[in-house]
Amino acid sequence: LKKKNYRRKKSMQRFKNYFDFCRSSFFRVRQLVWDWAMPASATYTPIDAEVDAVAAAAATTTTDELVNNHTEGVADEEVDDHHGVFSSSTAPPSTWKMGFAFWFLGLLNNSSYVIMIASAKTISEGGTALVFLANILPSMMIKLTAPYWFDYVSYQTRMTVAFSLMVLSFGLVASLSSGPTAATAAGTASSSSLSSNTLLQLLGVAMGSAQTGIGEASLLAAAGKCDASFHNNGHSEGVCITAFSSGTGLAGVFGFLWKFLLNEWMRFSMALTLWLAQSLAVAYILIFWYYLNHHLEVPLIPTFVTAADSSEESQPLELTTYNDNNSSGASEMGNHPTNDNPKSFSDNPDIPWADEEGRQEEANHNMNNMLMPAQINIRNNQHKKPVHEMTVLERATFVSTLWPYIIPLFVVYAAEYSLQAGTWTAIGFPVSSERARDDFYEYSNWMVRTVFIRHWAFHA
C-alpha cells in the first residue's frame, strides 16, 4: 500500500510538473505572440482613426469626424485593456521594431528633400540656385529656433504639421509642374523674370524643406529618447539613432532613384512622379502613429510637459480626465477640434515596455516638483535645471555649450557639400569636356550617396 501510495504521489508530482511546464510555456508563447502582435492588434484602429480624423478635418465633414472619433474612443479602450494585461508581464521592448520604425522615418523624412533637389532643374531651369536656397533655408531656420519652442509643442502635433507640409509641398509642386517639355519651355521663359508659377513652386519646395527640418529635429530627439529607454534596459545601445541616421543616409539614394526610375525610366511626367510621392507622406505619418506614437507616448511628451504642468498643478489632472472622456464619452469628443486628438493618446500611464529603472526615472521626473523635491536623480541634474524651466537666455547658453558636437558636424558637412557643389564639378576626364565633367559629378555624387552602407558598418 505504501508503495502504491508512493507511486501515486510520484505520478501526481510528475503530472504537476508537467502541468506547470505546460502552463509556463503557454504563458511564454502567449507573451511572445502578444509581443509580436500587440502593436498590430492594439494600435491599428487608432491610427486609422487618427489618419481618418486628419482627413476628415481636411474635408470638414462633421459627421465623419463624429464617427471616427467614436471608433477612436472604442479603440482607446482596447489599447488600455492590452496595456493592463501587458504591464503585468515584463515583456522586453522589441528593439528591432523600433529600429525599423526609425529607419523608415529617417528614409521618408529626408527623401522629400532629395526628391526636390533631384527635380530642381524641372522646377526652375534658370534658377536651380534658388531652388537649392528654398530647399535649405526654411529647414535651417526651424532647426535654429527649435531649442526655443519645441518643448511647447508635442511630438504628435509637430509630426502632423510635418506630414501636412509634406503633402502640401508635393501637391503644390506637382500641380504646377506641367510635364518635362512644357516645364523647360516655361523655365526658359522664367529665367529672365520669375513667373508666379515658379514662385509658388518655390513655396512648395520651401514647405518641403520646413517639413524636413521639423521632422529631423523631432525624430532625432525621439530617437534619443527611445535609446535612453533601451539603454536602461541593457539592450543594444543607440539602435534608434543609428537606424534613423541610416535611413537618412539611404534617403539620398532613394530620392534620386525615385525621380530617376519614375520620371526618366518609366517616363512618367514630373507631376505624376510627385503625386505618387504623396504615398511617401502617408507612409511617413502612418509609421509614426503606428510605432512611435504608441510606443513612446509617455516618454515622448512628459519630460517637459508633465513637469511644466506639475508646476502649474492643473494640467495633469485635466489631461487624465480628458483621456477618460475620450475613452468613455465618444460623443463629447466630437465637439473637440481634431488638433486636440494627438494629446488623447499621449497620456496613457502604462508603458508596456518600460523597464523598472526607466519608469522610476520618469516617475522621478514627474514627481520632482510636486511631491519630493529632495529625491532627485542625481545623474539627471548634474547639468542644470530642466529644460522647460529655462529662460530664452539660458537656452541660448545651453545651445552654446553644445559647440563640441555642433562644430565637427558643421565642418564635416560644409567640407562634404562644398566638394560636391564645387570641386567635383571641375573634375572630368578630360576636364575640357562638359559631358565628362557631368559624368564625374554624377558618379562621385552616387559614391557619396551610397553612404548608407557605412551606417550599418559603424553600428556593428
Binding site: 532625432l220 534619443g224 560644409a414
Partner: protein, 115 residues
C-alpha cells in the same frame, strides 16, 4: 570625442586633396578617384552617427538629451548653406585654373597666386 574631432579634420584634408587634384592633373587623374569620393561619404556618415550617439551618452536627463539633439541638428543645415556658397567660389577658381568658362561668380583669389 577625439574621433569626433579627428574626422572633420580628415574631411578638410579631403577638400584640399581634391582641390589639388582638380588643379594639377599629373598626380592622379582618372576614374579611380571615385574611391576617395566614397571615403568622403564614409566620414560624413560616421560623424553624423558618432556625434548624435555621443550626445545621447553625455546627457543623462532625457529632456536635455532631446534638447541637445534637436539643437545640434542645425549643424548640418548650416554646413550645407555655407558649402553651397563656398562651392560656387571653389568652382569658379578651379574653372579659371582649368581654363573653363561658365562659372557663376568670379574667383576672388588673384590668378597670379594660383600656379
Amino acid at each position: 570625442m577625439f574621433l569626433l574631432w579627428l574626422m572633420p579634420g580628415l574631411q578638410t584634408l579631403n577638400v584640399v586633396f581634391f582641390a589639388y587634384i582638380a588643379a594639377d592633373h599629373s598626380f592622379w587623374y582618372d576614374y579611380s578617384l571615385l574611391l576617395p569620393c566614397f571615403y568622403v561619404g564614409l566620414l560624413g556618415g560616421a560623424v553624423y552617427v558618432h556625434g548624435y550617439k555621443r550626445i545621447c551618452v553625455d546627457f543623462a536627463a532625457v529632456d536635455q538629451k532631446e534638447f541637445a539633439l534637436a539643437a545640434t541638428s542645425v549643424a548640418e543645415s548650416l554646413g550645407i548653406v555655407v558649402a553651397d556658397v563656398l562651392g560656387l567660389f571653389i568652382q569658379s577658381c578651379l574653372y579659371r585654373t582649368n581654363g573653363i568658362s561658365g562659372a557663376i561668380v568670379s574667383c576672388p583669389i588673384p590668378s597670379s597666386r594660383l600656379r
